[in-house]
Subunit: 304 residues, 3 copies
């Protein structure tokens, strides 16, 4: 991998992705082997939006490599309140760290920020844009559960606004995966994303009925449907009910169906699924640690 910055899943080739996932698998198999590998490394955390799992798993990742973080803290406790520009903030913080992680509400912000700094910068979500490390941990989870080739994946829920979904769908075009998109009509894939996927040679199908695809897929990737996307609450509730899975919904599923979710979930997956062998969503969140360790290892290694 020859990238200094990780801005978008689109920049990653199949070989890049497999390089990260292979390294992550090695690390997961023997974490003690890397426990002091980057003992003097500091990772700068610049989170301009709330985050639990992304921020915590980046912190766990660098610490599991022997390094540490320097954290900007919340926007409220920082100079951003005094009107500092993003370009200035990241140019200051790069002096405190060996690599930066940036989450920012504005699409394109990570690309822009990366042009101002010399240390590697990882995009941890730029508004409606990209979130490439989420995509890598999703791919890792799919690969562990079902393989990435000759696999059939149902992606369910809000396909219109979900950056996680767009990023994953695009990355999957590097592999021999069939993608079934399931959503209410008002939340279908944006035309541009659909076009991009076709251009990349993806095999995709679009559906509105969840039950129809349950028996056909190896992986069901559920996403949260947000109430604020709907003009009124009753419409939201109807849709939310239709794209929710429980043991009844999954009665027709293959025994080895894998259920994923980027979390947090609200009501998309009934708690009764948690104790079944289908449930992979907590493991998926945990996979963020070895995957981010692998990525940080590759970036920091390339620096030194």
């Amino acid at each position: 991998m020859r990238h200094e910055d990780i801005i978008s899943a689109k920049q990653l080739s199949r070989a890049d992705i497999e390089g990260v996932l292979d390294r992550a698998a090695e690390i997961a198999a023997d974490p003690a082997a890397v426990a002091d590998r980057h003992a003097n490394a500091l990772l700068g955390l610049c989170f301009f939006e709330p985050s639990t799992r992304t921020k915590m798993s980046f912190a766990a990742a660098i610490k599991r490599l022997g390094g540490d973080v320097v954290d900007m803290g919340t926007v409220e406790s920082s100079s951003v309140k005094k009107g500092e520009s993003l370009a200035d903030t990241v140019r200051v913080v790069e002096g405190y760290a060996d690599a930066l992680v940036l989450r920012h509400p504005m699409e394109g912000s990570a690309q822009m920020a990366s042009e101002f700094v010399d240390v590697p910068l990882i995009n941890a979500g730029d508004g409606a844009g990209q979130h490439p490390t989420q995509t890598l941990l999703d791919l890792y989870t799919i690969r562990e559960a079902a393989g990435l080739d000759d696999v059939s994946i149902g992606i369910v829920g809000d396909l219109k606004y979900g950056r996680t979904v767009h990023s994953l769908a695009h990355a999957l075009t590097n592999f021999d995966a069939t993608q079934h998109f399931v959503s209410p009509e008002s939340l279908q894939l944006p035309r541009k994303v659909r076009y991009d996927l076709h251009e990349a040679g993806a095999t995709i199908r679009e559906h509105t009925d969840l039950d129809a695809i349950v028996p056909e897929v190896d992986v069901l990737y559920m996403t949260r449907i947000q109430e604020e996307r709907f003009p009124d609450e009753s419409e939201y509730r109807e849709v939310a009910g239709e794209y929710r899975i429980d043991t009844t919904t999954l009665a027709a599923a293959a025994d080895d169906l894998t259920v994923m979710h980027p979390l947090p979930r609200v009501d998309e997956i009934a708690p009764e699924i948690d104790d079944t062998d289908h449930a992979a969503y907590f493991e998926q969140a945990h996979n963020g640690v070895p995957v981010r360790m692998a990525l940080l290892d590759l970036l920091l290694e390339a620096q030194s």
Copy 2:
């Protein structure tokens, strides 16, 4: 000690308590001996309520053992804002850490959360419920100052709502301690707590007059009386004045009387006491570090 989770002081036997306190004393005597003992351990901090001393001393404890924390941050900066359940949050965070510390406003939350996770979980306060590590550091402080057997302890202030007091009082029933409870009538021990203490064979006395017990006790454990417990401010001020100590109040005390307070104090102990040999409340707060080091050491040791 064979407990995977530390939920309540009630679960700890006399032998458990003495095991933790003995280990804490060893550690306090020679902290350098354990400085790298848990060099790869990560402690997950899930604080759903503000905290200074509990959170900082857990962080100091794991760091003094060579480990580190991964911190969920404030509720405002986390996924909790997106409606995630506590059970989901702790199941995610357990993937980032080797043990969890939970503070949550809801009584019973720590017990519930512990049923969802496999790593050890320590209750750092669950609303009106338990706060067992506070009890352990209180016991450690009492043992250092006056011993835990053949000791007479005055517990003063808000005995109705104070979880710290209930927890300590119950733990003291494992020892040969006489407990004097001193409070205004409206803030006396709840009937249930009094009953539990009698059942456990406690020797207790209840008082409304602070001056009467000052000459009799080895330890005075002061607590904060909160204004919001009173219908009007004048009533509060009268009560607060009565259960406040200063050098005049302590004129009749034994020379080796030990004054404790879980802190923060507002006005319960006059600053003039700070410089006397009676004052043990800052040392008490500091004891949180070796006591939590001991507890973490025992839990992490049992895991590995």
Copy 3:
């Protein structure tokens, strides 16, 4: 250096300052040599006000020395909300750490706090008072760029309220530096500061016209002029425009003019300056790490 606490730049002699700057230069030249120097040290961070660069660079500094932080967090997430006094808070936190860093909105707070604790305390800004580590990194930057003797420095902007400026100006009286102060009349140096500088034997000039001094100085130290200092917005905008530099303003400057700014900037320095050799403000922020490493090293060394 024989100071246990670093409260004010005024307490530092020329020899003290040179001792810190020399040590900082050594560390900057070979950071790996000190990477484990204070492996068991914990630095307590008590920030009662927002901060990005000061807090992050203290954290980076102690971590680059092999140590770690225990952070009180924001005031909102701490016991301060429960009415705890500053004296009590620092006496608790000193039990968790080997040294403390305090930022507090009240002038004099650091001095007061230092009287209550036994561990070294560093003032990281006390309201309109002092911020000695900012001064040290400013001096380090000036020394690297232009030397501290036989140097001419223009200090521009809000000279009335800026604690950074007062502190730097005073520290410069230890050296053979000529200071040109440039500000609108309403934001000139306070009479007391001017008097102190004269007493200390400073060579100072005061100006209202920025252009007049640009050709004469080796260093231009820009500061932020805050809108809230002006009765109306139009007056602010006129002043802000006059004390802003861009390539036109700097056309008459020496080739090796160094431009500094304590940051965050708003509009005082045009972005086009960033890519010129004049710009030293990001490097200045980055210098906070070796300078604070040097100071922490000296304080922790003296303790052990």
